[in-house]
Symmetry: C2
Subunit: 416 residues, 2 copies
């Protein structure tokens, strides 16, 4: 592995997180330091910006603003959901990428995203290698879903978990304030993997948790759900706080949200719109128990709540980006940065390593079934032991007049 001189390109892809920009900061700040990296480009809207030759010269930015990216949620360069075709079916995009890489002498490519994005990264890596264009390709992991294979956890998850745990604790205070029965149902993100929803158990570990937690890892049965709620209401003077994943489904794999949506769409009402799964289940409970209910959706807040981000998550996201650059400069390619942790050790330590892109692309990691306890409605201490260290540390957000001071990028277009 010799010295490779040339430009680097970085892109953000997929759903945003509170810390995806921290990884961007890690890539940019480290890349700007590297002698062999001649230019640092940031793609507008990920792969889309590369195809369109729409990217920024990050060397024109103030370092101070790049530092502020650590506390700026979402993807400051813009994100994209764009799936590259199989190269054997249609290689148009690949050829175009190669053209752009050659034009700008791009020898380093860093792509920040989740499962789909690592698939993109993997495909580009293989195509460049096969084309004989020497380019070191590194994936930087990101996803609030925490479902990437091969890494202990994913940047973005700790902050989403902290949002969920903190907010569940606060809602627990509020929802049970009256002396009358009340059922509250909260929806958290996670289509196939229940990590974010499971984080409500961290609130439980502090004595202010949900009474029932439902993950997509376990089939959801509506009659059992209503029976579970009844038991908790009897135990808790008519109060019940439930957290469900958006992805809960029945034993045939049909999403519970879709089951009800189908009923409604048959009616083809012009303006009526089904509430989310939280509202739907809250309404079911209202019918069944005749008491006050409330459905709450954590919506975008759980993935952009930078003001309540995990300090450790920010730091690790930054390091993931910086590590990708260092590894590439050391000669590595075709890898994704991973986090390694020794769970048998008493103290938390995150080590950075790499794994073949082939292995991580398109593989999902779910919550282990043995961590799901109590009739499928809670998480074990093992989960708490796993997740609690990930939400530690305050975000140290710079504020102006009591409000976040987000990074202001100049976004100077690269010279064509």
């Amino acid at each position: 592995m010799g010295v490779l001189k040339g430009a680097c390109m970085f892109g953000q892809s997929g759903g945003p997180t509170s810390v995806i920009n921290a990884s961007a900061a890690g890539v940019f700040i480290e890349a700007l330091k590297q002698e062999n990296i001649t230019k640092v480009y940031g793609a507008a809207h990920g792969i889309r910006g590369i195809l369109d030759e729409d990217f920024y010269d990050m060397g024109m930015e103030d370092i101070k603003e790049l530092e502020l990216l650590k506390n700026t949620p979402s993807s400051s360069l813009g994100s994209v959901r764009y799936k590259l075709k199989d190269v054997t079916v249609d290689d148009t995009d690949y050829k175009r990428l190669l053209e752009v890489f050659k034009k700008y002498d791009i020898r380093y490519f860093f792509y920040n995203g989740g499962n789909d994005s690592m698939d993109t990264c993997n495909k580009i890596s293989k195509f460049m290698a096969n084309s004989g264009w020497e380019c070191r390709v590194m994936g930087v992991p990101k996803t609030i879903d925490n479902d990437l294979f091969g890494t202990d956890h994913c940047p973005g998850f700790g902050s989403a978990a902290k949002y969920v745990a903190t907010t569940v604790m606060e809602i627990k205070q509020d929802a049970n304030v009256y002396d009358t029965p009340m059922i509250t149902v909260i929806e958290a993100m996670g289509r196939n993997a229940g990590w974010i929803t499971a984080s409500a158990a961290l609130a439980g570990a502090k004595g202010h948790g949900a009474d029932l937690i439902y993950l997509p890892e376990v089939d959801f049965d509506i009659e059992k759900f209503l029976a579970d709620v009844k038991v908790k209401m009897d135990e808790n003077k008519g109060k019940c706080l439930v957290v469900v994943s958006e992805g809960i489904h029945d034993k045939d794999g049909v999403l519970i949200a879709e089951k009800f949506a189908e009923n409604l769409s048959k009616d083809a009402f012009g303006h009526a719109q089904l509430g989310g799964i939280a509202t739907t289940l809250a309404n079911l409970c209202k019918e069944k128990f005749g008491c006050k209910t409330r459905g709450i959706e954590f919506s975008l807040m759980q993935r952009c709540g930078a003001h309540v981000a995990s300090g450790r998550d920010i730091e690790e996201a930054f390091n993931a980006g910086a590590t990708a650059v260092k590894c590439a400069c050391d000669g590595m390619t075709d890898k994704m940065v991973i986090f390694v942790r020794d769970m048998s050790s008493g103290s938390y330590e995150c080590k950075y390593d790499v794994l073949d892109l082939n292995l991580v692309a398109n593989t999902e990691k779910k919550v282990p079934l043995e961590w799901i306890t109590e009739n499928g409605t809670n998480l074990s201490d093992e989960f708490v032991k796993y997740a609690l260290p990930l939400i530690q540390g305050e975000p140290n957000m710079v504020k102006e007049d009591g409000l976040p001071r987000f990074a202001k990028l100049k976004k100077v277009s690269a010279k064509k």
Copy 2:
């Protein structure tokens, strides 16, 4: 006004806020210091707990835990929505209250709440005076709605405003991340007064605000709304972020949310449930513009988000409680504590004063129409000048393992 020796009773009433417990802390900590206050009681679920003789001896609590109430959202003693009848119609409850007051020698009564609670407080004050039972009655203001008459602002509003402004800023980062058109509609609280929704303009003052803000102070017209959205989409590359108050209504006063709910309920679907006004408007936009849309409800989070509370709001809420106790001990009765501010002064200073309960009970203060600008869809600099000082200061929340450490009260029942 001579010395009055006896017990004091404190109750929390109405919808919770992030700082209502800070006022409780102010009352308790100050009352426990006062020589003439022989016992300090906290009522479970406000007036309900007094009627049921269900209250706690706050002298049994650790001061450290009472201090933690400053950062514990919602009403730790429990709240209630209970409207006392007119005494000329039915004086049963009043006689019962008098009985309890006499039994426990309650000579100081502090009630913490919004409009309805000040009405309760006022009625009790007049009844005790007419019954010849010397008891000093003081209202402690509280409402995220900021609609109490006679006070510059209300404890609870600053924190709700900070939640809204911070979260709108974060959502703005997230909602506009893709390179495709997107309309996001957020619902904030406020049935009749738009203060909370207006706080989205504070995000705007920082350059990350909503494109359109709709308050209940202005009649809402659906066709105009769609036209407004169109203009913003054209200006902003297909992006539009809207914040609406739950209380928006048409020119006949019919709530927009109810207009759509009526359509749906006619169909009498078993399980289908209408989403909130945000989802409804987002869906309307989807039909009209054919692009991706999202409805978001700030729900309980905006009134219990203690982790993002305004430090100034916490301090003032505490002082409001302490001031009520001091004023009562100085001989005052039949008043509510108010905040006075000189808006012509360059710097912010909040002074504490009192106002007759008669004047504040059941009167609503709305957002001045002259502060609503630009076609009824934004707020003036005057509003920002008014509201921005109220969200200053961090909450300084005590945390354990990265999560809030809420107050743990012993709740020792008062001896009967």
